[in-house]
Symmetry: C2
Subunit: 410 residues, 2 copies
């Protein structure tokens, strides 16, 4: 079986090594030999850390998607429109497509599935969510018997690394981000990680599959982690809470609810112990109950393993059928299905602002604990719905103060 | 597709409901309709909590394994020799076999695989380990690319329920076991759970598959949980440790090491938060790194879900090939690959015994902390190999004192 590889970055190199260098020990037990015969790169003269014959490299994707001998196209490039177009053309030319590109899958999932079905080819994307965690496969298998009504997960290695280090080492946000970049755990431009769009794309993919309707990431509420201060982390340590960046979606009737936010977990919660670049995903099925899946959410080998796993499904002729349908008509219910106690920190040493904040908190929360020092107000509330609490925070921010808040999960 | 069901206990009833009552919502999306046409029970007149036509019930397994119309035999009875013989006969008659019976799989895995291969049928047993956790499927998928060199897991719901309640509620072992029995979490005869043989059979199955050699449960070191006292639990709470009943195996070169023991986990360990009837399994792959899988380790619906999941593989024609081979020649290395700090408690208020215990501890551990009260000695050691520490405990027990000990995992 001949394979075309689009992209030779970190994941692409890992895929090339497992397949062409037979780095995976048990790979040879599959019945058909697989070989990458062409690799598309942007710059053919770039110095690479990988042993690959020059003659395999091409710069035009059409040399791959129009190659009659290639049966499988693996797309591990990071953009959107070109990558989408490559996948569609490859499928229309009768080729199976495997990708690690979450942006394309989350944006064009419905059309990609339709195109795969029309051409009777496979469209597989295990590596797009959770790195090496076999979450896509497990979700499809769970859906064969169960309705899934809830998904929770820590889905971004960069932000989890940052939050772990802020918690364990007492570093501030900016320094931790800098160190994460130096260590290769964060991109030079970490915007997509830190503002939540990386996570919301992953939640979009999982929720769409689980709930049977294409839920794009623009329909997911998201809030970043930049406002977290060392004072917050100190307070969480005192209270026995751990801050995590959580993706969470629910299905109730014909409404879905999806959010990406920093939240507080009690230290009895399994997810509170998921640290550094590791990810975790929880699914709730109506027959099987809760399942959780933990593993490396990023990294060359773990992610390449997921891509090659997809290839082995194709070689072994498993999962040829597209079992996922996206035909449910669902409504976006916003975030009103999320409810919990809240932590709120507001910075002010102005008497007027202080009074206004306390009055607003009084208006929204009847039973709360307030503590303050010279420049900060800390509030712990009773259970409040997310949409109500967000209104409180909007009003507080309109006063012109800095604040941070998080819902508490037991 | 016609199915014969051997056994109509808790799991059998769950399987019957999912298949014949179509309890699983998405079940109908499979291409071929499945129906259970015969059910073997021991007593046809028993009053049952399940809506099933009398005409389906038979008392002789041969009516099922010799029925030409039946293509799949599901064995969810709990014995060994009869069940093994049913499975072999069913396969020799060209039928696929699915089972939840860990005792048969762990004892006869090699012959069952060979018989399945000879007859070109499937032999699937997802429900035999970890209840609803898709660990067998995930392990097979991981092995396609990875060598797995380590397995850890909490694999028994009864003992995990007992340890969780002892820790959280301060109950003693006997009372907790009684409550677990009253609540249906423990069998009337809980011996197999408490002495470790239930766990060692599950570890036998996972280790055999992962390491490629039939490792029977009689080759696994095991130690039960009966000796744990409230004094131990108090001490663990003070030290920040959580006691769990851990299955652990490793492969190093051509030697395997496998043990089932109560161990202490720091509260930073994900497994320390796995409570009550939940199970967790950790696999370490050379490419993918560590993966963990969490879910309900027991219970009607979760376990029945796993059985029906296997049926769907057969219906969908996935995993038809037997990918697992058991042809590695491996040696049992005992427990010398396990090493860690140790906790030891010895009961004595006899001066002579006290002196002998302290002398023995001195002989085996150079750097330790010893505390004692009127009737108990508590020791925390430096890192010691398991085989060495076991020798110390043997010598201490020879003095005629009660003791309990556990290795500490960070």
């Amino acid at each position: 079986m001949k394979i075309g590889l689009l992209g030779l970055g970190t994941v692409g190199s890992g895929v090339y090594e497992i397949i062409n260098h037979q780095k995976g020990h048990y790979f040879a037990t599959s019945k058909e030999e697989a070989i990458i015969t062409k690799v598309m790169v942007r710059d053919i003269n770039k110095i690479r850390n990988i042993n690959i014959p020059d003659k395999l490299l091409v710069t035009n994707f059409e040399e791959i998607v129009n190659d009659d001998e290639i049966q499988v196209v693996i797309c591990v490039m990071g953009g959107i429109e070109l990558e989408y177009s490559c996948m569609i053309q490859a499928m229309n030319n009768g080729k199976h497509v495997i990708t690690a590109n979450k942006a394309v899958v989350s944006e064009y999932m419905d059309i990609l599935y339709k195109t795969a079905k029309q051409n009777n080819v496979s469209f597989l994307y295990e590596a797009s969510v959770g790195g090496g965690i076999p979450i896509i496969t497990s979700l499809i298998q769970t859906l064969r018997i169960n309705q899934i009504d809830e998904i929770k997960g820590i889905l971004n290695g960069t932000t989890n690394f940052i939050l772990s280090k802020m918690t364990d080492e007492g570093w501030n946000f900016a320094d931790t981000l800098k160190k994460a970049q130096d260590m290769g755990f964060a991109e030079a431009d970490p915007t997509a990680d830190i503002d939540g769009s990386d996570v919301s794309r992953k939640l979009s993919i999982l929720s769409s599959m689980a709930f049977g309707s294409h839920i794009k990431d623009e329909n997911i509420y998201k809030r970043g982690i930049k406002e977290i201060s060392e004072a917050d982390i100190d307070m969480f340590n005192d209270l026995g809470y751990v801050l995590k960046y959580l993706a969470h979606s629910k299905l109730e009737g014909n409404k879905y609810y999806a959010t990406v936010e920093p939240v507080l977990l009690t230290n009895k919660n399994i997810m509170s112990n998921v640290n550094e670049e590791f990810n975790i995903v929880s699914l709730n099925g109506n027959i099987i109950g809760e399942l959780q899946f933990y593993g490396k959410g990023a990294g060359k080998n773990a992610t390449a393993n997921a891509v090659v796993g997809d290839l082995l499904y194709i070689i072994n002729n498993d999962f040829k059928k597209q079992e996922i349908t996206l035909e449910q008509q669902l409504e976006n219910g916003g975030n009103i299905a999320f409810e919990g106690k809240y932590y709120l920190r507001v910075d002010t040493n102005d008497h007027d602002q202080f009074t206004k904040v306390i009055d607003l908190v009084d208006e929204f929360s009847k039973k709360k604990k307030i503590t303050f020092n010279s420049s900060k107000i800390y509030v712990l509330t009773e259970e409040i719905k997310a949409n109500i609490f967000n209104k409180l925070v909007d009003k507080i921010n309109a006063i012109g103060v800095n604040s941070f808040y998080a819902r508490i999960y037991s």
